[in-house]
Symmetry: C2
Subunit: 233 residues, 2 copies
């Protein structure tokens, strides 16, 4: 049996491509995002009382990878990318229904020109992600600190230390409109966004990732990441 | 933008009708349920490694109420049923996309005759519920014990004390196939499943609810509930 679901809202976030998005929403805390409700769901009534909750569940669609379909097994990066586990034992995007789930901090609600915007703390969502449900986080029902977390019992460790090349420092200084930019880039790149097969080996490649309206270039020599340049797009 | 999602599996639970279903999955702990994966998703591969996790997130469809559409505001039972809040500030079934979300204990995985069944602890799901996604519960990302829980900061209190009329006792004794039945019925009815407008007033009505293959009859004189009869259907 099939069901049709509609887009209720769309995410506006600094992540302009899938590469370098943290694997869970709480891992990069310095980026904020906005959820714009779309007509006919952009009614102040529909979010009345939501401000009483500190966190929300967002159900969303993996819109950029859904065309690729699903696989019964996937290789989670947490297992080094060379062990296969069942797709339902992971939060991989390559699932039968392209539904994602994230808990995000709710910082506020903005009503403007008939529009409704939810101001969100750190998200792990691509810019433009279609949101299909919003629910309050209920700590008495949803918080299970003693649940057994399988192959992902803790946040990823072995973070890289991030430094900025003088040219990147100069670019940072020019972006006074984004005061948390240094922290944000440091948190994103500390997680080592490279594919698992690249890790633990010499790597001279310069990578680039689109964040906000920038192309951020970097090189990784573990345990260090150097941001070599920040270019405007 | 609209998306089509497919049913991956179906719930087999004691709850044969919406009335008396607990409002969150952990509130009635004695009932177990099963999730049957449907072709082509009933592959042992697709759940490989899932047994390492103690809890799952199930995304499901509110199939019995979806025809009724959505309302921008609803009256949550937690507020006595006479205060309106936005639908997105609740887990009400009357939402734009009829998607539900429950965290449930995973007790085991059964592979039989090419079928895959997930053995679940307490659920709050109607028998026959279509499941559209299964994800592992990740305590490091999902457990936020200090989140602010709005108008539902704690589990519902003011539970009723439940007693069994001798006729109901006799029926219980005949159901040796369901050894946890007494506890299950006590937990379900202790929550006072009546509509909010009935509460706090004299109420002589006899109610009936279908649980398993039974019609369970009861009367409520707060703070007591008497199970008057348990009839086979």
């Amino acid at each position: 049996m099939k069901f049709e679901i509609d887009t209720l809202g769309v995410i506006h976030s600094p992540y302009k491509e899938k590469f370098a998005i943290p694997r869970q929403p709480g891992l990069v805390r310095s980026a904020t995002a906005r959820l714009e409700l779309l007509p006919p769901y952009n009614q102040a009534d529909a979010v009345r009382g939501l401000e009483q909750f500190s966190h929300l569940w967002l159900s969303f669609v993996f819109h950029q990878t859904m065309e690729q379909g699903w696989h019964p097994t996937v290789r989670p990066p947490r297992l080094g990318g060379n062990e296969r586990v069942g797709v339902f034992a992971t939060r991989s995007t390559f699932r039968p229904n392209p539904l994602g789930l994230s808990v995000v901090p709710l910082l506020g609600i903005t009503l403007e020109k008939g529009g409704v915007w939810l101001e969100l703390g750190a998200v792990d969502l691509l810019d433009g992600t279609p949101v299909v449900d919003i629910k309050p986080y209920l700590p008495y029902a949803d918080s299970l600190p003693h649940a057994r977390g399988g192959f992902a019992p803790e946040p990823p460790r072995d973070l890289l230390s991030v430094r900025f090349h003088p040219e990147a420092e100069a670019a940072l200084a020019r972006r006074r409109d984004l005061p948390a930019l240094r922290t944000f880039l440091s948190e994103v790149l500390a997680q080592d966004p490279r594919p698992a097969y690249k890790k633990g080996k010499p790597d001279d490649k310069e990578y680039g990732v689109r964040l906000y309206d920038m192309n951020v270039r970097f090189r990784i020599h573990e345990p260090e990441c150097e941001i070599t340049a920040i270019e405007s797009l």
